[in-house]
Amino acid sequence: MITRVIVKKSTYRDSISLMKISNSISKLPGITQAAVVMATELNRRVLSEAGFVDAAIGRASTSDMIVAIEAKEASSLDAALAETERLLSPAEKTTGEKAPPTSLEEALKLVPDANLAVISVPGQFAKREAMQALSKGLNVFLFSSNVSREEEVELKHAAKEKGLLLMGPDCGTSIVNHKVLGFGNAIREGTIGLISASGTGLQEVTTLIHKAGLGISQAIGTGGGDLSEEVGGITMIQGFELLEEDEQTKVIVLISKPPSLGTMEKVLEVARRSRKPVVVNFLGADVDPSMLGKLRQASTLDDATRVACELAGVKLGGAAPVIPKETMAIALAEHKKLARSQQYVRGLFSGGTLCYESEIVLQPLLGEVFSNAPIKAENKVRGDAPSKKHSCIDMGAEEFVEGRAHPMIDFSLRNKRILQEARDPETAVILIDVELGYGSNADPAGQLVPVIQEAKALAKEAGRHLSVVASVVGTEGDFQGLANQEKALSEAEVLIMPSNAQAARVSALIAAGEKIEPAILGRSN
């Protein structure tokens, strides 16, 4: 083993940067130990005791930073040192170079013809910033959450009066003129226009459309509160009118969790007047057929994709739910490997709508599904409580993200939960979603694979076989690389399904076995 110590005089980085650098260096090939710490007396002593002997350590003072690396060979050490320098350099540059704009006014001086502002400030300041943007004639993509319903109504009325669109608050995804705002994927240009009150729902349908070989014209996010009684679907209706007038859009898809009844009637009334074919996917909503008229209803996100593609001229496979025979066989073989105690599906989701959709799929097949965001109020459980029977947990819920990055970026809480579920002798299947694209973690599979391997090993040690089923929301154009991500997960023995709903169906089949086969195939027993 060879070691190297570098002392950076009077160098400060915040703790997050120090830990990130430390972790990045530790993971490089051939590196056995790495530490990036402030040169306090005790840290110097700990490093000495860990085998880092260098006169520079003794000369360092508490305001200096020490980088200590141990490697198996010189080439690994050199590579690690070069990487350390690279990681340490950008922050130095960003503090010295020309500062980015610090206000809307400054930003507009830089881009005077801008017509849209993306706002992502803490909720308490969001209304002020959004109002400013509207007053300057800008459409708004409002990523901020924790904006009250009253403020949302006020903002949306102000936008509507000015003929502007306010997407949000709490709007995770939009694709406007082929530019992705917030979380989103690289989607082909095409003729299907979407309006969605659900961020991950929009990601799921747009990526499935892309995978089917078609593309989108626009994808407008409205924010989760738009279809509430108070807001009345202002943005969805405005968005609908825009798509109605848009020449490129030939088919319109509406996506949401169940809207309030009054708002649903209002939105569907506008949709029924459309000259274009419309697909309605209000997940779990009880829509009276008389409210639909000629509108096409879809029960799940993959079903919405199938219907939209068909209306756009491309017929996909059979009607959902369909599980290919080979997949059925794999699922039933997995079921046979389970121990007697293993009965339940444990869904752990980054995407709130994907969690909700899974509950909608699982409940008719398996019975009660417990969740922190349940479809039935009586099935509500705390997100951090140990799982109860069949469970679907939305790890992006407020209780998990306070002060933290969203689980699409920070996998730490979900990874802990995966291990927790693996230890539970009642867990048969862990069901997960994986989101690629802008804003998401740079390597989701890299985050998940070691944990899934550990989870499977934990179960094996206890004499059980643990199934893990996933769907990957993404396209080959996403910077993480869809094929690479799916390959890495498959190699960790994760069963990859083409859609979230399909992943839920297969999970149900693994947990319950042949007895639900007729239900899966849509036959009565």
Binding site: L18, V37, M38, T40, T62, A99, S120, E129
Partner: protein, 333 residues
């Protein structure tokens, strides 16, 4: 906007500076700023710009970081609200003019209408019994194990439960492993009420671990702050707590980073950043919901700082209530 080359800027050319407004100023920061004069930007991070004045540090932070004795919280018109995006750099000069602070010839920070933050050391609700505090500690511990970052000393929280202790003890990270026996000695020193023993124990912990505020310091800050607040609110200042506060304030000098030294000295005086004070209050006077909420809020701070501070607060409560530390206390592992 002016370039950063000149140093002749005065309030007369403030129209060339961008204007930022402070919403709160910590009592200690206010005292330092009131002295006027010049300071130097010591470090620029996403969550703070630290300025060194003759009397000590003042930290400019976005409002989301919350109030603290050294903090000046700013309404930042930037999304996301990162101090590093203001274009200020380490070494820039800072001048105080009345109730405004000229920052690196780029920004003028007004604290004239800011509220002064000075947390009450006496809580508004009555203290819980030691048994109830025990139950709250357990909630904190479990939440930290579930949601915390274990790269610092957080792993030691698992040693307090016989169920997880043995497995954890075998795999402690280098810093937790180093601190493990020293915390046992600190507890013994605390109970001995001997200053020299406490000095030895504290000096063996200050400055240990990763982070700009090393993990052990975050732990000690939480521990001593809880001890001081427990004494104030029980109405019977414990000699051991007083001694511990005195020793930590003295031993911090020169043994750790400047920022950490400042935090330790403030904690020893019963002062801390808002999330830490709120968690101490919840632990000693609150119910499950508030303990959980405040624990999560503190865990979200920094990389390991939040978790290490929660560990310190749990240890402080154990020291004060006389609860045994279980396996940490010396059972062989």
């Amino acid at each position: 906007m002016k370039s950063n080359s000149g140093s002749q800027s005065t309030l007369s050319n403030q129209f060339e500076l961008s204007f930022l407004e402070a919403s709160s100023v910590g009592r200690v920061a206010y005292t330092r700023l009131k002295e006027g004069g010049e300071g130097t930007v010591q470090g620029v991070f996403d969550s703070a710009i630290n300025i060194l004045f003759a009397e000590g540090l003042v930290c400019l932070v976005p409002e989301i970081v919350q109030r603290g004795p050294l903090n000046v919280t700013l309404r930042l018109p930037v999304a996301p609200p990162r101090m590093s995006s203001l274009g200020v750099r380490a070494g820039d000069r800072v001048r105080v003019h009345g109730f405004a602070l000229e920052l690196g010839n780029r920004h003028l920070v007004s604290f004239g209408s800011a509220r002064i933050y000075s947390p009450r050391k006496k809580f508004s609700l009555p203290m819980l019994t030691n048994g109830e505090i025990d139950a709250n500690m357990e909630i904190m511990r479990k939440n930290a194990l579930l949601f915390g970052n274990m790269a610092g000393l957080g792993e030691l929280l698992a040693l307090m439960s016989p169920r997880t202790a043995k497995a954890t003890a075998k795999n402690l990270n280098i810093f937790a492993s180093f601190a493990f026996g020293r915390i046992v000695r600190l507890e013994q020193a605390f109970r001995s009420e001997k200053k020299s023993t406490l000095e030895d124990a504290v000096s063996e912990l200050i400055g240990l671990g990763p982070g700009l505020t090393p993990s052990s310091d975050d732990m000690l800050a939480g521990l001593v702050l809880l001890c001081v607040l427990y004494g104030k609110n029980r109405g019977c200042a414990q000699r051991a707590s007083q001694l511990l506060a005195q020793v930590i304030a003295e031993e911090a000098r020169g043994r750790t980073t400047l920022l950490s030294e400042e935090f330790l000295r403030q904690a020893a005086s019963g002062r801390g950043n808002e999330p830490i004070i709120r968690l101490c209050a919840a632990l000693l006077t609150g119910r499950r919901d508030s303990v959980e909420r405040e624990t999560r809020s503190l865990l979200a701070i920094g990389e390991t700082s939040g978790t290490d501070t929660v560990l310190g607060i749990v240890l402080g409560a154990m020291f004060c209530t006389g609860r045994r530390l279980g396996l940490i206390e010396g059972e062989s592992i």
